[in-house]
């Protein structure tokens, strides 16, 4: 039972286990009961509109779901959304972090302003973007377009997923900036100067010194953002409601449609199980990547 760590301390043992047990048990139940219920419902015939039809359904819910093109489209949308937002926030966040590391007048205020979108709640920011920025007739974008003589774009009907990506990226860019800026500050100034003496220009310093230094922070940003981006819901609900058609329906929104618009708890639960599996596959890759990065 007792294991000895490299430090010479022992871990485990009956006494420590008994002290940990209540917390571990509580957390386990906290996780297992919802998970168990979801899996249970996913095998049940359970539609609130058809109260009479209950009972064990076998794999029927899954069969129905997998034969539904909406699932595959939702999965694609989810991955596109996560991928693009990650790309924009990481690249943008890194460049902004380098920018905000430079000394200029009003840097403190500029930093606060750049980080503030993170403190706006998703529903509010989605509403602001929908009604004030991207609105085809009242929006700032259309006003700018018309000022320069272009046709105003009806963002949510012609470029629905792009619009969602812009909104979500706007919200998460400050998070990436915040983490990367903190990491930037621990960059040894001597290293930069040594590189300058070695003949490195600003671009070489960015690629050879800054970027390797930020590698660990970037992997942390990717991991944390991924967890939240897989479950984006409010922004879609407020702006496009998953449409037009299924253009902006991601997995989370699809489950919502099945459970609370179609009242089909069984199929929604099956969708939930698939979402859990998808998240776990992503998480395994991520955890490996981050763990490897943290090691060296």
């Amino acid at each position: 039972m007792n294991k000895t760590r490299a430090s010479g301390r022992t871990v485990g043992g009956l006494r420590t286990l008994s002290l940990q047990a209540p917390a571990v048990t509580l957390l386990l139940l906290w996780m297992l009961i919802p998970l168990g219920l979801t899996i249970w419902f996913s095998f049940q015939r359970y539609n609130l509109l058809m109260p009479g039809m209950t009972g064990f359904a076998g794999l029927e819910n899954y069969q129905y779901l997998f034969s539904d093109p909406a699932l595959w489209s939702a999965m694609g949308t989810t991955l596109l959304l996560v991928g693009w937002v990650l790309a924009i926030t990481v690249v943008g966040g890194t460049l902004l972090a380098v920018l905000f590391q430079q000394d200029f007048a009003g840097r403190g205020i500029a930093r606060v302003l750049a980080i503030s979108p993170f403190f706006v709640m998703p529903t509010v920011s989605a509403l602001v973007w929908k009604n004030m920025m991207m609105h085809p007739s009242n929006g700032v974008f259309s006003w700018v377009a018309e000022t320069f003589g272009f046709q105003a774009v009806d963002w949510f009907s012609s470029l629905p997923l792009t619009s969602i990506i812009i909104i979500v990226a706007w919200q998460w860019l400050p998070f990436a900036l915040l983490i990367l800026l903190t990491a930037m500050q621990s960059l040894d100034e001597d290293q930069v100067e040594a590189a300058r003496m070695d003949g490195a220009g600003p671009v070489a310093i960015f690629f050879f010194i800054t970027l390797p230094h930020l590698k660990r922070a970037i992997s942390v940003v990717i991991m944390i953002e991924m967890i939240f981006l897989l479950t984006i819901f409010a922004e879609i609900f407020v702006t496009t409601s998953g449409g037009p058609g299924l253009a902006t329906t991601n997995l989370a929104y699809l489950i919502y449609i099945r459970a609370l618009l179609d009242f089909d708890v069984g199929t929604a639960s099956a969708g939930g199980v698939i979402a859990i599996i998808l998240a776990n596959i992503v998480a395994i890759f991520l955890v490996r990547m981050v763990a490897k990065n943290l090691e060296d």
């Binding site: 040894d188 290293q191 100067e193 040594a194 300058r196 003496m197 070695d198 490195a200 050879f208 060296d296």
Partner: protein, 381 residues
């Protein structure tokens, strides 16, 4: 071949003058040490030479060419940083070859040069390691190696040994001196440690508050400090300073009255002295001798036995005087001791802190480390 010349260099940060006009000449293959207390501007001066900091006014010349506007990479200099500043994600080999990689030197040639430098520094077995897996001394050597591969005309060292422990510092000091001979390059070295300055320099530049207090060979600075600051800064333990009164001054010597009431004639030129001007007597601890007939006396407060030597801290009125005595002295704490000194070894400072010129030049004052080297080479043949 590389010489460096500074002409009336100044540096101003916002409202503070950090460097207040420095003239300096560094000869080819010379080992010059900038030494001074923290905040004296020595690191700033080196960074200006390196090009990491711009000079507010004045000229920097390398081999007679003004290089104020030349970027740090193109001055033909290499710098070793106090923190080593190794690139943590690169192996030792990549660290050392980084400048050549930026200059797009072919891989084979790069490896060749890195191996050459690694051989000089005994780094060959470590080339594939990352800096994290190296000890402090090894990191230091890699940092020096990174400088060597650039084949610079002048090496700059910014307090390179201050992060090492005492034993390693002594070892690296010897290694640096050996390296200087082997590479035969011009080197500029910044330190706050006067032992490093004394042991390695051909020429020491003592800086204080942004001005050069004195410039000269280590022995010159030790035996003929130009003022009270240099006298106190060079030498360890620190020189003792006693307030004395002037009895009689002339070009042949100055007669002073010691705090104990006895008189003593110091062989310095006192022809410029005004009557009654306050004087300060400076004597190094190693030049004070315990002597039952000595003119000075006091009570031992602290006794430090180092084996070969014993430091005595003697209370003399308000003042504590340090004496370096033989290792075998039998005295105990609170003993009263008498001690004296050879007037030839004493220094006198006027009210401005300037040393009165000594009448006798010390025979070793002109000696540089280079003279040691040449003598040694001569005897080998």
């Amino acid at each position: 071949m590389a010489t460096l010349e500074l002409k009336q260099i100044t540096k101003r940060f916002d409202d503070t003058d950090v460097i207040k006009g420095i003239d300096l000449e560094v000869n080819d293959r010379e080992f010059v040490v900038f030494v001074g207390p923290s905040g004296c501007g020595k690191s700033t001066l080196m960074r200006m030479i390196a090009g990491l900091e711009s000079a507010t006014s004045g000229d920097i010349l390398i081999n007679g060419e003004r290089i104020n506007e030349v970027g740090p990479a193109h001055r033909g200099l290499a710098m070793v940083f106090q923190s080593y500043a190794l690139y943590p994600h690169m192996t030792v080999e990549d660290n050392m070859g980084f400048s050549m990689r930026l200059a797009k030197v072919p891989k084979e040639q790069r490896r060749q040069k890195v191996l050459e430098a690694a051989k000089i520094l005994q780094l060959e077995p470590l080339l594939d390691r990352k800096p994290k897996a190296l000890s402090g001394g090894q990191r230091q050597r890699v940092a020096i190696g990174r400088a060597i591969v650039r084949n610079p005309s002048i090496f700059l060292f910014d307090e390179p040994l201050s992060n090492l422990d005492a034993a390693l510092r002594v070892q690296m000091r010897i290694e640096l001196a050996r390296l200087h001979e082997e590479l035969d390059a011009t080197m500029i070295y910044v330190t706050h440690d006067q032992i490093e300055a004394m042991t390695m320099a051909d020429k020491i530049v003592v800086l204080h508050d942004g001005v050069v207090e004195q410039m000269g060979s280590p022995m010159e600075l030790y035996h003929h400090p130009r003022n009270r600051f240099v006298a106190g800064f060079i030498g360890s333990p620190k020189m003792n300073f006693l307030d004395v009164s002037l009895e009689e001054a002339g070009p042949e010597g100055v007669r002073i009255r010691l705090p104990s009431g006895r008189d003593c004639t110091v062989p310095v030129d006192g022809s410029e002295l005004a009557v009654d001007s306050p004087l300060e007597l400076g004597i190094r601890p190693e030049h004070l001798q315990l002597d039952d007939q000595g003119p000075l006396s006091g009570e031992i407060q602290v006794l430090e036995r180092l084996g070969g030597q014993t430091s005595l801290y003697v209370q003399m009125g308000e003042l504590v005087v340090t004496i370096m005595a033989d290792g075998d002295v039998a005295h105990r704490v609170h003993d009263m001791v008498r001690f004296g000194f050879d007037p030839m070894r004493a220094h006198l400072f006027n009210s401005e802190g300037t040393a009165l010129p000594s009448l006798h030049q010390h025979p070793l004052a002109g000696l540089t480390r280079r003279d040691h080297r040449q003598a040694a080479e001569g005897s080998n043949q």
